[in-house]
């Protein structure tokens, strides 16, 4: 499992996009992520592998944007391993998100 946050990626993002912008962008991710998790759970319940993969894919992409390496890694595994038998993977991803987001926000507000 990679580290929670790749600081190099995060500070590069701050340098290229601007630190203030990164704060806003993180807020957007914080607002959007619950919809992605809801979609992940709904897709799982509906048995739609395609919807499940797409939602995991979105979470992966956004996590990687901020250098949230562990979160991105876990989301990628969900994306690539098909519809799971139970929702434990989603729960684990949610837990990791819940700890990663405040850490990112703290970094962003530095």
């Amino acid at each position: 499992m990679p580290e929670a946050i790749d600081r190099t990626v995060f500070s590069e993002l701050q340098q290229t996009a601007g630190a203030d912008f990164v704060v806003e962008l993180l807020d957007t991710f914080a607002e959007e992520a619950p919809h992605m998790f809801a979609e992940l759970r709904a897709a799982h319940e509906a048995g739609s592998a395609e919807r499940f993969r797409r939602a995991a894919h979105s979470l992966k992409t956004n996590a990687n944007t901020f250098g949230a390496a562990a979160l991105g890694h876990m989301a990628r595994e969900l994306e690539l391993s098909g519809l799971p038998a139970d929702a434990s993977g989603v729960d684990a991803l949610q837990m990791l998100f819940d700890t990663t987001m405040p850490a990112l926000q703290e970094l962003a507000r530095g």
Partner: protein, 347 residues
């Protein structure tokens, strides 16, 4: 720089991606607008001109593949460059994008430096394509240009009705010998600029420049309402410009410049001549020869602008001319009626 201030459309269903890409593009000095799915993107593209599209693949309500398919079939949009930004894995996706006409494929998260380089390169390619298109359109009718862009080019041509003009500077050799080469080049550049302006303002096309002379065509390949009248107006404008130039030259103590213009109307054979590698749009035929002979005859006739009978009768008296009678021109079996424009008495 060429890519300064380009207008880009960022298409992505993921808000974080959309905002970040738009931010990167804006920081590079471009304008960015955003669309959250393919359908909205197509609507925006059809509504107004964009220089480039950054396109995500996986989107609800029309995905990136479908957008590219639509763009390819749309005449007005098929040349808009597309850079795909996606985090889909696997070579198959990239291959499909390139096959559908994408300029490039960038993995998300997109590296801003790489993004900048790719955008610059795509815009530069687009600029060259646009330039090529404009160039073709300048030397061919829009029908020919469209034909060239779609079906490529073929040597050969067709018979069209047009007015041909030849023009050159009188006594240029004497002028060249009286001044340095730099001054001669400068004089030629000024002269060409003035003549081009007069000709193109009347929708003529300069298709040859030979030393101190040029050949222009009116009515082919660019359609002109009345080619004879347009050519005559251009010639009169050229004379006026020469007078203005001479006033300037006189103030600098330089000798006056005189030009001779020959104009003829009739059938010409217009099209591409040359080889597959290098070709030029040109016109050949009796009308072309006649215009050249008339131009050469201006010196003997002591008149600035000479026109043939066909041009004169097409003017319908709207521009005054003097009949010089039938003249036996070099290379012509029979004498031809020659007219001199009254407004340009000086040779």
């Amino acid at each position: 720089m060429a890519e300064r201030g380009a207008r880009l459309l960022v298409v992505d269903d993921n808000k974080v991606n959309r905002l970040l890409l738009a931010r990167n593009v804006t920081l590079q000095g471009h304008q960015a607008e955003t669309a959250e799915n393919g359908r909205i993107a197509l609507e925006m593209l059809r509504r107004s001109g964009f220089d480039l599209v950054l396109l995500d693949i996986e989107m609800p309500d029309m995905d990136g593949f479908q957008v590219m398919e639509q763009l390819a079939t749309d005449k007005a949009l098929r040349d808009v460059p597309v850079i795909v930004t996606s985090s889909l894995e696997g070579v198959a996706t990239i291959v499909r994008c390139i096959e559908l006409g994408a300029d490039d494929y960038l993995h998300k998260p997109v590296n801003p430096v790489l993004l900048k380089a790719r955008i610059s390169s795509s815009l530069e390619k687009k600029r060259l394509r646009d330039q090529q298109k404009a160039l073709v359109e300048r030397f061919a009718t829009s029908a020919v240009a469209a034909d060239l862009q779609q079906g490529g080019f073929a040597l050969g041509g067709k018979r069209v009705q047009a007015t041909v003009m030849f023009c050159d500077i009188r006594g240029f050799t004497t002028i060249v010998e009286s001044q340095g080469p730099e001054e001669t080049i400068e004089l030629l550049n000024t002269w060409y600029t003035l003549m081009f302006e007069a000709i193109t303002s009347q929708s003529g096309v300069v298709n040859q420049m030979i030393g101190d002379g040029l050949m222009a065509i009116f009515g082919a390949p660019l359609p002109v309402a009345e080619p004879p009248l347009a050519a005559v107006r251009a010639a009169l404008e050229m004379m006026e410009m020469i007078e203005l130039l001479n006033a300037e030259r006189a103030a600098e103590g330089k000798p006056a410049l005189a030009i001779g213009v020959g104009i003829a109307t009739g059938d010409v054979f217009a099209g591409y001549t040359g080889t597959q590698e290098r070709a030029t749009y040109t016109c050949v035929g009796d009308t072309v020869n006649l215009a050249a002979r008339l131009e050469a005859h201006t010196k003997q006739a002591g008149r600035g602008i000479l026109i043939d009978g066909a041009t004169q009768s097409a003017l319908g008296g709207r521009v005054a001319s003097d009949a010089l009678g039938p003249v036996q021109l070099k290379g012509k079996a029979q004498a031809v009626d020659v007219f001199a424009l009254a407004a340009a008495r000086r040779a």
